[in-house]
């Protein structure tokens, strides 16, 4: 396993573009902390974002994982190209000839994906913990470590998303087209949802179907945290809208994403096995 990771590390780290993207990704993850510096000071209106409760435990777990997940696009580019480049450089052929089995090849990519997701999770955990300890209004141990489900959700979400990228790279063999397809797929999921709700079933039923789509199911793992803020909810109460919806992550939501992950990895393997290189 270490060998497979080393192989992938050599390939990635010697590529300047990948190195820059990976580094920027982790710098961006850390830069969540900069949100704390957002301060408006316009005469009588004083606004300090960090004082609005976004860094309160346990809310910070939800907020930070949600924000951090936006940056995953940087790694998506790296992952799609690390797969597609093997095809355009024909190095996949040489790797197999040199004695890497097809299973090992896929495994080395998948292990890399898992490592990326794991390191990101650890990163977010540490950044959030430090930020929370500085700005949170509540500092009891039991509160700090409640609602930690967002961290495994973040991890599973990243693994799922990156596995999808891996599969697209494998399927399409060209990074640019694979990324294009990723965007197309995002639109497609919404389009199918729209058509289902409009023509075939009720909107709530269409929503339930949509929850099974790969990208949507990944989105569901960490729901939008903005409406949880007391400030937002206060406004909601004033205008008569209820923003208090269920933001928890449920086991079956994990299950759907894990299913997609397994399917994408299996399909990548099946594709590699079937193809003549």
């Amino acid at each position: 396993m270490v060998r497979l990771l080393q192989i992938e590390f050599i390939k990635l780290w010697n590529n300047r573009a990948s190195k820059v993207l990976i580094t920027s990704y982790f710098v961006l993850l850390t830069s969540i902390a900069l949100i704390a510096a957002i301060k408006f000071d316009i005469g009588p209106v004083q606004f300090h974002l960090a004082d609005q409760g976004i860094f309160n435990f346990p809310y910070i777990w939800h907020f930070n994982t949600w924000v951090a997940a936006i940056f995953k696009l940087f790694l998506a580019i790296v992952i799609v190209s690390m797969m597609a480049n093997e095809y355009s450089n024909k190095t996949i052929k040489q790797n197999l000839i040199d004695g890497l089995s097809k299973k090992e090849f896929i495994l080395s990519k998948f292990l890399t994906v898992i490592s990326f997701a794991f390191i990101s999770t650890v990163f977010v955990f540490i950044t959030s913990l430090i930020l929370g300890l500085i700005y949170s209004d509540y500092n009891e141990i039991s509160i700090i470590f409640s609602d930690l489900e967002f961290l495994p959700a973040f991890f599973v979400k990243l693994v799922g998303f990156f596995s999808f990228c891996l599969f697209l790279g494998m399927l399409i063999k060209r990074s640019a087209f694979a990324l294009g397809f990723l965007i197309l797929w995002t639109i497609l999921e919404q389009a199918v949802f729209g058509i289902l709700g409009w023509k075939f079933m009720s909107w709530p039923a269409a929503k339930r179907v949509k929850d099974f789509f790969p990208l949507e199911s990944m989105m569901n793992l960490i729901k939008e945290p903005g409406s949880r803020l007391s400030a937002v909810q206060n406004i909601g109460d004033q205008i008569g809208e209820n923003f208090r919806f269920d933001y928890h992550t449920y086991w079956y939501e994990f299950l759907i994403v894990i299913f997609w992950t397994a399917l994408f990895i299996y399909l990548s393997y099946a594709l590699l096995k079937k193809r003549d290189l």
Binding site: I10, K90, K93, I97, D98, G99, D276
Partner: protein, 298 residues
Amino acid sequence: MQTILTVTNLTKKFGYITAVKDLSFTIEKGNVYGILGPNGSGKSTTLGIILNVVNRTAGDFSWFDGNTTTHEALKKVGAIIERPNFYPYMTAIQNLKLVCKIKEVPETRIQEKLELVGLWERRNSKFKTYSLGMKQRLAIASALLNDPEILILDEPTNGLDPQGIHQIREIIKKIAGEGTTILLASHLLDEVEKVCSHVVILRKGEKLYSGPVGGMMASHGFFELRTVDMEKLQALLEKNASFGKITRENGTLTAFLKEEMDAEELNKMLFDQGMVLSHLVKRKESLEEQFLTLTKNN
């Protein structure tokens, strides 16, 4: 003798096209083999199958004693096919280190192999800055990293300039001289003739011949003859059991031998029959002529 590779009834179809048809051969340790055939005869496909990158349609192949999985066996094989494939953004050293990781061999041999192919000076240059000849030499160095039981080369001199071709051939000869088994696919006859001891000839995916290079010379050669009365000469030779095919072209008669006969004997025989030759040459077919004869559609 130790068998390195056994191929039995291998068949590969790409849709309607049969690229390799019912191909069988074995490779023994210590010999230098050539796979010879015109472009599109199934050489690269065959190599692709035994190297685990092309799926076979039917038939079988086994490496060594047949008890190792293909990818484990490939760690004991050194192979380059068609074009040298490396990571363009990595230097020679970085690329070779990667290969060492894949093959699970120590990195200590990198210097030795780079020196062998004359690239040690350029070890820290990126692969994409290399000329084709250098890329091909790097591929050879990479294939040799594990001191392979067998070295497989697919068209190693394709697209190189004469100097590059010469360099590659010198390296191959050096490696063959050290007793490494080599399998060389090529459409260039002199290449095979110069380095190989055994040859497998393919045409449209079918095996035409397999055996020692010397064995290809199944014929005993032929005579080129000229005389005043060509008609009489031809009639005379056609009656003689020693001759097979007889052709006439541009006033020269070519008579193929079915059994051994030297020029003196023929000359004497014809003279006794009252024929005086103005031209008598005995020749063996070159490998090239035989190859063209073999691969001709007939």
